[in-house]
Amino acid sequence: MEPSSFIYNLFSQYGIFTFVAPFLLVFSLLYGSLRKIGLFGKDNPNKEKLYAIISIVIAFYYLYSISAVIFTSYFISFFFFEVLIIFFILMIIALMAGILEPYKGDDEFQKYKQSSHNIIVGILTLTVLFAFLYASSANFKEFGATAQNIMTEMMLALILSGLLPYLIIGGFIIAALYWVYKKEEPPKKKRKKKYFFIAPAEALYELPEFTKNRK
């Protein structure tokens, strides 16, 4: 499907996508961040003007590189798609949570649930990395190609400098030493295998509750 609508073509022609939109995005983000962190003190009477000037200048510098703008477009569009997926998941989960009674386990179950919650948060943060990978893997000149090679370059540097084998071997030695010298723990109770299945699900059901109670 090629963009054929009158409005899309008109906006492209007048630089709304390549000039106005990226400017608004970067300017508002920088200005808002500068206001929030209060870098130039609270009593400075000219601070708002200074924040505005700095944000405008940086935003124009950013617009100078069209490949960076296109990269941003791909980056944020994929990120939005991921946000939409999370939104749909949370919507259905919240729908189900209202009708089904939550599982009330013991203290061990609560620990499992907390760990599951932490893992879910970790996975959610990975969405940014996925969006970056997508944007860098799309076919671009300059910026995209550079970003695409970051992981490969890092790996290559580790191999060429001979560090990677040492790192791997060192990692195994540290793991072995930890395993040998770790303190003997008192025998644990038998783990309930069903907690591995139920606790992550309960952590998922709790996610919409967190957003609901947020002020």
Partner: protein, 187 residues
């Protein structure tokens, strides 16, 4: 009916207005929820900045026309899933909320699985013009590089050695526990 759809497409409802409204509202909601650009919860300037950021975000996202294809492929199917689970919830009303924990967990994983599957399908069906899925191609490239350089083999070998050591040395723990309690014997 088809003419009406074509008319809507012609005036940018499908590839501009609807995605813009969706992206703008979702991003604005997230910014309001996170208070990212606000100094205090009642900060009006912060709210305006959030609106400007959302406007820029929405316009710049629409510039990537692949997103429009993903949305067109993903949203109708995901909405169908919502309808399906709503009907399920309606039928579960009769059970008086006494649903076992395992079944509740199963539903949660089912939802996540179905939505993720639909999303991946949307990406691979209507991926970018250069390849079917750039993300997968990049990951495959990295894997291929690891294999070619021999690093993957090194990792696997060391991992196997480590596992064997753990298995051999840690084996007596089980047998010790299976011995049972030490009973005093009569001579």
């Amino acid at each position: 009916m088809t003419d009406f759809n074509q008319l809507l497409s012609q005036y940018g409802l499908i590839d501009f207005v609807l995605p813009f409204l969706l992206i703008f509202s979702l991003v604005f909601m997230l910014l309001e929820l996170s208070n990212l650009l606000k100094v205090s919860p009642d900060d009006t300037v912060g709210r305006k900045l959030s609106a400007l950021f959302s406007l820029g975000f929405a316009l710049l996202s629409i510039y990537n026309q692949d997103l429009i294809k993903w949305l067109l492929s993903f949203i109708p199917k995901a909405t169908l899933v919502i309808i399906g689970f709503s009907l399920l919830v309606i039928t579960l009303v009769f059970t008086n909320k006494k649903i076992p924990g395992g079944l509740r967990a199963f539903f949660a994983f089912l939802v996540v699985g179905i939505i993720l599957w639909l999303a991946v399908n949307s990406l691979s069906i209507s991926g970018s013009s250069s390849s079917s899925s750039p993300l997968i191609s990049l990951l495959l490239y990295q894997l291929d590089y690891l294999i070619q350089s021999g690093m993957l083999a090194l990792l696997v070998i060391f991992g196997l050695i480590f596992l064997v050591i753990i298995w051999v040395v840690g084996g007596d723990k089980k047998s010790r526990s299976s011995e049972g309690p030490i009973l005093p014997r009569s001579r």
